[in-house]
Assembly symmetry: C2
Amino acid sequence: MREVFQQELREVQDRLVEIASLVTESIEKATQAFNESNVTLAETVIADDDKIDAAAYELDELAIQILARQQPVARDLRIVVSALRISASLERMGDMSTHISQLARYRFPEKVVPKKLRPTFVEMGRLDVEIARMLTELLRTQDTAIAEAIRNEDDKVDALHLSVFDTVLGESWKGEAVDTVDSTLASRYHERFADHAVSIAKKVQYLATGDWIPSDS
Amino acid sequence: MREVFQQELREVQDRLVEIASLVTESIEKATQAFNESNVTLAETVIADDDKIDAAAYELDELAIQILARQQPVARDLRIVVSALRISASLERMGDMSTHISQLARYRFPEKVVPKKLRPTFVEMGRLDVEIARMLTELLRTQDTAIAEAIRNEDDKVDALHLSVFDTVLGESWKGEAVDTVDSTLASRYHERFADHAVSIAKKVQYLATGDWIPSDS
């Protein structure tokens, strides 16, 4: 029984890694679509979000079946419960990629943000992609050092998020309302993407240390 | 055993209703603070968010203990798992109240949004409060008719959310960048608050119909 359970836990872990890979692919394409106003790529991201949602749903069903069949307790139980929460956060990360892609599509053939802010968004996008790759690696290896690294990269994203507001609210901002709206939303989506990764990293960290599972904050 | 389990499920339900009541109080104060730029009230909401987070965390711990002790299967298991998801969404609703309050605090003594948009935000706030009250009632009574009503109110919030963009992007918009940023974020927070309520309503509905639990979308 125990052996079967360990096997099922590995299956859960493999699925989480697989979903994280889909999310990584989605943010890679979303940020490229956003920065290059590539509407075709944007539409691919939007269409492919269903795959992430379906994979998350299937993982949830598997986790619920494991709870019913194996009736785990203690740390084993928390691992399965945390898998349910991690899949929900991964699904939200996919939604952020979709929102970023929708902004690119709406503004096509225009670029979403004015020249002045483009380097900032290129960097935010690069960090989001890096964070998604680290998150996939964290889920694969459970190496908590990666969790720490994700928090550090998230701090950089938060700093860039604030700098977007400084720019938009600064004296020298010449953007029209549409530039202000899109920059505000785009920055928020990039920042939320990284936040979800941090909340997942915390869960993996707490599990590794045998501590409790924090709520999604 | 079964009797004990039913008792524990009632405890879980009572706790969800209690958290929903805290969220209702929080959005009532947040929207009033926002509309009247009442910084004291805004700070109360921000300070009280810890209570919502703590209540959600305690409920999660109770649900995990129930899974360990009672090892429920089938629908009973899904009820406990859905409670974990509902508490996560309630916690996020509290975060939205906090974000709305933070906007009010940052702009104090100024009002957050320009005159032109205030009636729209008063109405969005009224709908969010109404949705929170309905959600509390839904969790108390499990009356799925209320779930439908919440979806209908959410449609109104979505329409107002779009109308904010129409205004901000319209010819006649005279707002400065700061007005555009705050209106965009405030509208997003009001809309997300209602979205989380809908995702909870769907879970209650699916449970009532014995159907599967949808992921957080």
